[in-house]
């Protein structure tokens, strides 16, 4: 049985939005719950996929785990150790083990540094080693991410998207991370390059025993790469389970709508199948004011078809994640 590498308990991250210069006097601060009570765990050598629409807080989760944001409340346990409020020094050490791949291809690449310098710097951040050793590690890394040696003397802007992503990966691997938060690692890439990167990520997982928190809006890729998938809606996980169950036997109406939107685009024939549950209204969401009770109510077709039961809108009974068997959890009063 694999060890749990990361466990997150009731994690909350609220952003305060200051309105104007004197807000601190007037108590006019507004709190936006980007992540609002999320719990999950990831085992070694496992991938947890997180899907959801833009603004649902999936990126914030990754950033909070890596402590790029300070969590408002909750607990983050990495490798058996509570890291929710470790100090800066310890945090630096931790970052030798957990890393993040950013959506922005240029994120890790200082535009004024050559690739060689970027990599050698990353290697020496956590390890004091000789120049010769650094050179050896660089060529190891290049091999791992399948990048040509000739690119080492280039500047980042001279690389293609796929190459930039590879350098970003090499940088993350160079510190020896075991756990990687991959925030939309493929969304900025072309389809053919995307497949290369997905393959590379899986390959690295197999060879180095990495664990991923894989954040993406691309349902197909998440389904392919993850062992488990968590579906997020407005800061909460509404459903979580093994990836094929989530994709094919979704219990939460939102999950269902997400996956059927995929089918619907794809072909005229299958579109009909999905039509049955498809009737949600698609208003603009307002993250500052989640509805009392279940957050999904304004868009929920089940709520509509059940004749708007008060259970769903009652502030006291916001649905919590419940186990429905087969490592499958759902937060809904009327699971499908």
């Amino acid at each position: 049985m694999a060890k749990t590498i990361l466990e997150v308990m009731d994690l909350k991250k609220h952003f305060t939005h200051r309105k104007g210069l004197f807000s601190s006097f007037k108590e006019a601060q507004q709190s936006i719950p980007a992540v609002d009570g999320v719990s999950f765990y990831i085992k070694e050598n496992e991938t947890l996929g997180v899907v959801g629409e833009s603004g649902c807080g999936k990126t914030t989760i990754g950033r909070t785990i890596l402590r790029l944001e300070k969590p408002t409340s909750g607990k983050i346990i990495f490798d058996g150790k509570d890291i929710t409020s470790v100090r800066t020094n310890e945090l630096r050490l931790l970052r030798g083990q957990m890393q993040m791949i950013f959506q922005d291809l240029d994120a890790a690449l200082n535009p004024k540094m050559r690739i060689r310098d970027i990599l050698s710097e990353a290697i020496t951040v956590h390890h004091r080693i000789s120049d010769a050793e650094v050179g050896r590690r660089i060529s190891d890394l290049l091999e791992q991410v399948n990048l040509k040696k000739s690119k080492l003397s280039n500047f980042p802007h001279e690389l293609s998207g796929g190459e930039k992503r590879r350098v970003g990966l090499a940088r993350v691997l160079s510190v020896g991370a075991r756990f990687i938060v991959a925030d939309e690692p493929t969304s900025a890439l072309d389809v053919s390059i995307q497949a290369q990167v997905v393959n590379l990520l899986r390959d690295l997982q197999k060879r180095l025993g990495l664990s991923y928190l894989f954040i993406s809006h691309d349902l197909r890729v998440v389904e392919l790469i993850s062992h488990k998938v968590a579906v997020m809606y407005l800061g909460k996980i509404v459903e979580m389970g093994l990836s094929d169950r989530i994709a094919n036997k979704a219990s939460h109406p939102y999950t269902h709508i997400l996956w059927s939107s995929l089918l619907e685009k794809q072909s005229k024939e299958t579109a009909q199948k999905a039509k049955s549950v498809q009737a949600g209204r698609w208003g603009v969401f307002d993250f500052e004011r989640p509805t009392a009770g279940c957050r999904f109510v304004p868009r929920c077709p089940v709520y509509e078809s059940k004749g708007k039961p008060t259970l769903c809108t009652d502030p006291a009974t916001e649905p919590q994640l419940k186990d429905i068997g087969g490592v499958h959890q759902v937060a809904c009063h009327f699971p499908l």
Binding site: R95, A107, E121, F155, R171
Partner: protein
């Protein structure tokens, strides 16, 4: 129809091209002219400060007053007291050179610190620093200098202190903008996530790699600013006093003769100001175009 076709496989790699081939010719000309001016100023400053001039700028020759340029022994002619114009112009650089460097240093030093604080820390720091920069920007520089002159004394170093301080907001906002740009691209965050120490991020990645050229550009523009201020004030009669030459007081003392149609004693220092400030401006803008804008795109 024209043939735009080009033989395949014959395109040189951009990295192989020398820098002067990659940049705009106009920018190159700007920088070239600017460097000539900088060299002239520095050489003149050294000549003046080590008394290597063939003619003493204070030598009065009442027999040869208002000599036109080209007069034997006086390449740039003489002024109303028969003093050699060229020597006076060269020595006039003393009036602003070191004080100007002081002003540049103050502006860059404090501007960088405040810019890093505002950009990197953000939040309350940013609010406070924005207030400070707005406050400094509320004073017309010359009026503030006059106030300081009235309260203290008309010393060029006091003046340059004010010039430097009033230039701080410009540097601050540039550095802050740069950091915010880097932040927006998640670049700093990636460094933090990697575990790079804050000191390295700020000093090496932000300041050395990304703000270096910006600071050089601000230094050149700051010198132009210092020259403008010094000449304006010495023209107004503050700062360097006769008989010590400064370009500003030279223009001023030549003014009466100007109205009589004898332009040269006033025009020569005015042109010196013109060409020097132009040089620093063009150098700054040329460098800006070459180093800042184009490589990022």
């Amino acid at each position: 129809m024209k043939n735009y076709f080009q033989i395949p496989g014959e395109i040189s790699e951009s990295t192989g091209l020398p820098i002067w081939k990659k940049v705009d010719g106009v920018d190159l000309a700007y920088v070239g002219y600017g460097l000539v001016i900088v060299t002239l100023v520095v050489v003149s400053y050294i000549l003046g400060s080590f008394h290597l001039l063939t003619r003493d700028p204070q030598d009065i020759d009442l027999g040869l007053m208002m000599a036109p340029p080209g007069t034997a022994g006086h390449l740039f002619g003489t002024d109303f007291m028969g003093r050699d114009m060229l020597s006076r112009l060269i020595v006039g650089i003393q009036a602003y050179f070191l004080p100007g460097l002081l002003a540049i240093f103050i502006a860059l030093f404090f501007g960088t610190i405040l810019g890093v604080l505002a950009g990197y820390r953000g939040g309350k720091f940013d609010t406070g620093i924005t207030y400070f920069t707005n406050l400094v920007d509320s004073f017309p520089r010359l009026v503030l200098i006059l106030l300081v002159i009235a309260a203290f004394k008309p010393d060029i170093y006091y003046i340059m202190l004010v010039v430097g301080l009033t230039n701080v907001p410009v540097v601050t906002s540039l550095i802050k903008g740069k950091i915010q740009f880097l932040k927006q691209k998640n670049f700093i965050e990636a460094d933090v996530a990697l575990g790079v120490p804050t000191r390295t991020i700020i000093l090496k990645h932000i300041l050395w790699h990304n703000c270096r050229s910006l600071l050089i550009i601000q230094a050149t523009l700051g010198m132009a600013e210092a020259i403008l201020m010094e000449t304006s004030l010495s023209y107004l009669g503050f700062g360097v006093q006769e008989p010590t030459p400064s370009w500003g007081n030279m223009v001023q003392s030549g003014a009466n003769y100007f109205m009589q149609g004898k332009f040269w004693p006033s025009t020569a220092p005015a042109l010196a100001i013109l060409f020097t400030i132009l040089g620093f401006h063009l150098l700054g803008d040329g460098l800006n175009n070459i180093l800042e804008d184009k490589r990022n795109t």
